[in-house]
Symmetry: C2
Subunit: 195 residues, 2 copies
């Protein structure tokens, strides 16, 4: 049943796309409305402001993390470390598909949105936390193969930081190389940890 999405859904879909492509400030209401095919009156029927739409978008990312990012990666690999790198491989593909224009939509918003906007940053942090949680699951499965006393949460956070940093560099260099070199070092880190 390919039911036509409601105006509200189309607004959120368009905002997801445009905030990722042009950023929050770089997306005008006019851009958004014409992309979604919705009139401004309808927009303000569903959302009280552009900022409220941002929050709604960040909430949909929360639900999209597992089906769109984590589960496809977990389906491609069984071994815990390979699952982590399968997630990262997903980001590599997105970089290639977008000719290095890709930036993680969350990372972009994390740096763009005013830090005073705590609701938005709370949601971004929640998204990051979900991502860290998925990596943490893999790390936990390594059991005692890791050195005693390894801070597993910190290690999972580290994986996220490396990914975000790698994506950022690839965007400016216009090449996937910095991402690849960064991920290769992370692989070496895991190799050393498990040696």
């Amino acid at each position: 049943m390919p039911k036509t999405p409601s105006s509200r859904d189309r607004l959120i879909d368009s905002a997801r796309y445009l905030f990722w492509e042009r950023g929050y400030a770089g997306t005008s209401m006019a851009d958004l409305l014409s992309h979604a095919g919705v009139n401004s009156g309808s927009f303000y029927h569903f959302f009280e402001s552009k900022e409220a739409l941002l929050r709604a978008v960040l909430e949909t990312y929360l639900g999209a993390l597992r089906p769109m990012i984590v589960e496809p990666a977990f389906a491609r690999a069984q071994e815990p470390v390979e699952r982590i790198f399968a997630i990262l491989e997903g980001y590599r593909e997105r970089i290639l598909q977008t000719e290095c224009k890709y930036g993680c939509p969350l990372g972009r918003l994390a740096l763009e949105i005013d830090p005073e906007n705590r609701p938005a940053h709370g949601l971004i942090a929640e998204n990051f936390q979900g991502w860290i949680g998925a990596v943490r699951e893999c790390i936990d499965q390594l059991q005692d193969r890791l050195p005693a006393g390894t801070d597993r949460d910190a290690l999972a956070t580290y994986v996220l930081a490396v990914m975000e940093g790698g994506v950022m560099l690839s965007r400016s260099y216009g090449s996937v190389d910095p991402f690849d070199r960064t991920i290769a070092q992370l692989r070496e880190h895991f190799r050393l940890l498990l040696a």
Copy 2:
């Protein structure tokens, strides 16, 4: 001689500050002009557009890297690995000084500026390259303490990616913890490499 800075210098100084605090799109010409105490006519006497100002700002970062970031860190530590972590400690201090609002100004622009704007991204990449070069110097001094076949450039790139990722997370979490945990893992990486 505390000579009054010229209008051009004041414009660049203000732009450095405002682009860092509010981003490029988030800084209006009106904000900029009033912050610098300059009229719009003077601005367009020195710069052909807001975008030209962005390029000028990115060029000043190029010159500021060593005196502002690298040399103070190198002065605090002699040992190569400690010098790398002294650079990172500088970023930690900036996070604390700004109550976690701090994001690396280059990282912010790297994710914000349209990838089609190659001149700007070229300058950002040049800045990153300078940073990587400084870390690379330290790594080179480690000589044969590193495992044979270590990709030294990739390792230096990795340090930058970890820093940028850590700064990003701290901004959204509103806490220096993610940065600290991330840097601690990087330290572990160097410990394992040199073991």
